[in-house]
């Protein structure tokens, strides 16, 4: 089965309290030199059937309406492994 990954990140101008909390914790744990941290979400979708244009369009729609809140988040759709293509 093919795996398609949807990465969801808060838009750059949106406040990310979780990322900030991580960033504040880093120096306390001895990790220096990190200027900023932003935290996102990753969805791994196991797709039945071929990952053709129609399937990707469907996933795009899925991401836009459900996986990401496009008012405050951006998303990127990536095909990670496609056995159909690997064989050919």
């Amino acid at each position: 089965m093919a795996r398609v990954v949807v990465d969801v990140m808060l838009k750059p101008e949106i406040l990310d309290p979780q990322g900030q909390a991580v960033q504040r914790a880093l120096p306390r744990l001895g990790f220096e030199g990190i200027a900023d941290v932003r935290q996102g979400k990753r969805f791994e979708l196991e797709v039945e059937g071929p990952v053709d244009e129609a399937a990707l369009a469907r996933i795009h729609e899925m991401a836009e309406t459900f996986l990401a809140n496009t008012v405050i988040e951006d998303f990127v759709v990536k095909v990670e492994s496609d056995p159909a293509k690997a064989e050919s």
């Binding site: 838009k11 101008e13 949106i14 406040l15 405050i72």
Partner: protein
């Protein structure tokens, strides 16, 4: 891009400026040029546009709001009136209480969770800025039809946002309302109120005086949140705003706000500030111009010292940013070190960004170059004022002539029984526990009453048991039929609710939600509602301490019902004397206080059973409301009643069912002489309450009502496990509970 400095603006008087895109009208732009005697710089244009927006300047509503001051009743309780961040009232024993209700309607429609969350955050900072510790929040909410798919998108997000932010702050949510009506489909109303407590000597005002004093910005870093949010989001309708033009949504961080609260209260305790203001809509533009304007006028700000989350922000964007969890303080130089030390202790970033100056100009610099040079009063307090034309809508007469009394009434006892179940199980009358259970109502351990009680109540002194109560009410259906009366009914209901809990009403705050002020019909509704509210407050002796106006709540040509929401604050000397709504003990006698008339216009019955809105709303008698309140308060203080519930939408049967389900006891009712069972159960006449009187107190209670001239009719007794209307029908509590409590989860869960 070259920096648009004051010098550059003077040299390029004819440069094109995007005043229209920023929401300014041509004459407003001309006026700015006149005030400055040159074209404004980009930064100045940003400040004026955002501060002169409807949301910040109240330019359409101001002329009507004046009445709240002019008609304000004499009140010893009022310590700080309209005009500050929030009003303050004296509640005795050296305590003062500050409270206010605001709207966050449009942001909550775009992004329900963050919109509602930052609404809570904003009102909490308003209260904090007065010097008070926030102790409770309330949330009056209105959504589209309960079964509409978009309600399922908006409502859960709003409820989770309110719960998430308030719960993280550790503030109990003690009340509010949830109303459904198709008129709110594209314009949900998310109003948020907060109560804060302080000692009299702790009151702080927003002003910058004393040249040499430092301007300190503290709290979160400034990012690109909600840039233009105030002028674009809050002032114009959505239709023109495609996704591409959507301004960035503000995202709240309640843990940062909690630090800000504790840090600010410690700063107050050591008396380190000369003036203070929270940053809300219009961000730094608002805070700097309002602080300077309220002081002697002079202030110099080095804008490039503002700590940023995004280093690419332009000076205009920094001035307009609505990043949350920020405050601005004016501090005398000798206190700056201590101020900074406290901020550091709480892990709150604090930066001196400027100082108060001798002059009368607000001057803002960017890396040494001057980008703003304005008289701050012209930005903050002397914005445009519109006398918008208003006219009674043509359809008003027809609407009022469409009398609800003509609607077919139930013809049999069985039909009446079915309609009772239908009304108490309708979305507006059903239990809202599914929503309010998502809020923490008891955190801090001082909550005495919370939803579904008539009013929320918190204890503010553990030794003396002094407490305050608050109720919020508004009925857009009544106000649509008659805005003047509708506003008074909202006031009367909230007043009655506070009294029913045993507290004495002291003062009010309001959130006035209306359509576009450019529509003369809407403007007439607004004028009538404000007049009604001001007259009502004068008669009841409860001054308006402040509030908020939200206009442009409409989709296309269709405005929401005019929806004035009124929050009444009351005080109770001893919270152990409070009156709950629960009918709990068999044998308690039920008395109906007040007069029941044939009043069905705008009623829940007409809506649920007939889908009808027409006629006139119930008549208002404020003298009667006062008398009823006095009786309820005396009876509570002297232990003459065990329970009380105000009668409003849904009528007597709604109140009885709620009280029975709350206490787990049934009731046997007898229809009084001269009334039909239908009118007895469903009339929405104002100025009424139902009380449960212990047998031992019956004589004392009826004597008191008789002596003061309040009609009190014995209508039954608490007994059994069903609600019975003698000679009509019986409904087991279990059946009522199913209808009343499963409706909302069924629609939304």
């Amino acid at each position: 891009m070259t920096l648009d400095t004051v010098k550059h603006a003077t040299e390029t008087p004819d440069a094109e400026q995007p005043w229209a895109e920023l929401g300014l009208k041509k004459d407003e732009y001309e006026r700015i040029r006149e005030i400055l005697d040159r074209r404004p710089t980009g930064a100045e244009l940003a400040m004026y546009s955002v501060m002169w927006s409807e949301h910040c300047s109240y330019k359409s509503s101001k002329v009507h709001l004046k009445q709240f001051g002019e008609k304000a009743p004499e009140s010893d309780a009022l310590l700080v009136g309209i005009g500050e961040n929030a009003g303050v009232v004296d509640v005795g024993q050296g305590y003062a209480v500050t409270f206010k209700v605001e709207s966050h309607n449009h942001p909550s429609y775009i992004e329900p969770y963050q919109g509602a969350a930052t609404g809570v955050g904003g009102i909490v900072r308003d209260i904090l800025a007065m010097g008070a510790r926030p102790v409770a929040v309330v949330d009056p909410l209105r959504f589209g039809a309960a079964d509409h798919p978009d309600t399922k998108r908006v409502l859960p997000g709003v409820v989770a946002g309110i719960g998430g932010y308030g719960n993280c702050l550790g503030l109990p949510n003690i009340g509010g309302e949830v109303v459904f009506d198709p008129c709110y489909q594209g314009n949900p109303l998310v109003n948020a109120g907060c109560i804060g407590v302080m000692k009299h000597e702790d009151i702080h005002l927003a002003k910058a005086s004393g040249p040499g004093n430092k301007v300190i910005l503290y709290g979160a870093r400034t990012g690109g949140d909600g840039i233009g949010g105030v002028s674009v989001l809050a002032s114009e309708t959505f239709e023109s705003t495609g996704p591409a033009k959507r301004p960035a949504v503000q995202v709240g961080d309640p843990f940062q706000e909690k630090l800000l609260i504790e840090c600010t209260l410690e700063i107050f305790k050591e008396n380190l500030v000369a003036g203070i203001q929270d940053l809300g809509g219009a961000g730094l533009s608002c805070a700097t111009s309002e602080l300077a304007s309220a002081g002697s006028g002079g202030m110099r700000v080095e804008l490039d010292t503002v700590p940023l989350r995004d280093a690419t922000l332009s000076p205009e964007e920094i001035l307009m940013s609505e990043s949350q969890e920020r405050m601005c303080a004016i501090v005398e130089p000798q206190h700056v070190d201590r101020f900074m030390a406290i901020c550091e202790k709480w892990d709150v970033i604090a930066t001196v960004i400027g100082e108060v100056t001798e002059g009368e100009r607000l001057e803002i610099f960017w890396h040494g170059e001057q980008i703003v040079d304005v008289p701050p009063r012209t930005v903050a307090h002397e914005g445009p004022v519109y006398h918008r034309p208003y006219a009674r809508p043509e359809w008003q007469d027809a609407l009022q002539a469409d009398d609800a009394a003509k609607l077919p009434r139930p013809k049999s006892a069985d039909e009446l029984r079915a309609q009772v179940l239908k009304v108490v199980g309708s979305p507006n009358q059903a239990s809202k526990a599914w929503i309010t259970d998502q809020y923490d109502r008891f955190v801090q351990g001082n909550t005495v009453l919370a939803q579904p009680e008539d009013a929320g109540m918190v204890r503010i002194d553990e030794e003396s048991n002094l407490g305050v109560a608050m109720a919020t009410d508004g009925n857009g259906r009544y106000a649509k039929l008659d805005p003047y009366t509708g506003a008074q009914l909202a006031l009367a209901e909230a007043y009655r609710n506070v009294a029913a809990s045993g507290a004495r009403p002291l003062a009010i705050s309001d959130c006035l939600n209306f359509g576009s002020p450019e529509d003369p019909g809407v403007m007439w509704q607004f004028a009538e509602a404000t007049r009604g509210l001001a007259d009502g407050c004068q008669e009841l002796g409860t001054p308006v301490t402040g509030g908020n106006v939200s206009l442009y709540n409409q989709t296309g040509e269709t405005a929401i019902h005019p929806t004035p929401v009124v929050a009444v604050l009351g005080v109770i000397d001893d919270v152990t004397r409070r009156t709950p709504i629960a009918f709990a003990e068999a044998g308690q006698l039920l008395y109906l206080l007040g007069d029941t008339k044939e009043e069905f216009g705008g009623s829940a019955w007409s809506d649920v059973v007939h889908g009808h809105l027409g006629g006139l709303p119930p008549a208002v008698d404020l003298d009667r409301e006062k008398l009823l309140a006095e009786i309820l308060i005396s009876a509570s203080r002297d232990g003459m009643i065990d329970a009380a519930h105000d009668l409003s939408d849904g009528g007597l049967v709604q109140a009885v069912v709620e009280s029975c389900l709350r206490g787990g006891a049934g009731a046997r009712l007898v229809v009084p002489d001269g009334l039909s069972a239908f009118t007895f159960l469903f009339s929405e006449s104002a100025g009424r309450a139902v009380v449960a009187v212990p047998r031992s107190e019956e004589l004392r209670f009826t004597d008191m009502c008789g002596a003061r001239g309040l009609p009190a009719t014995r209508i039954g007794v608490v007994d059994g496990e069903e609600v019975e209307v003698q000679g009509e029908f019986r409904i087991p509590l279990a059946e009522l509970r199913t209808a009343h409590e499963e409706a909302i989860p069924g629609l939304l869960a």
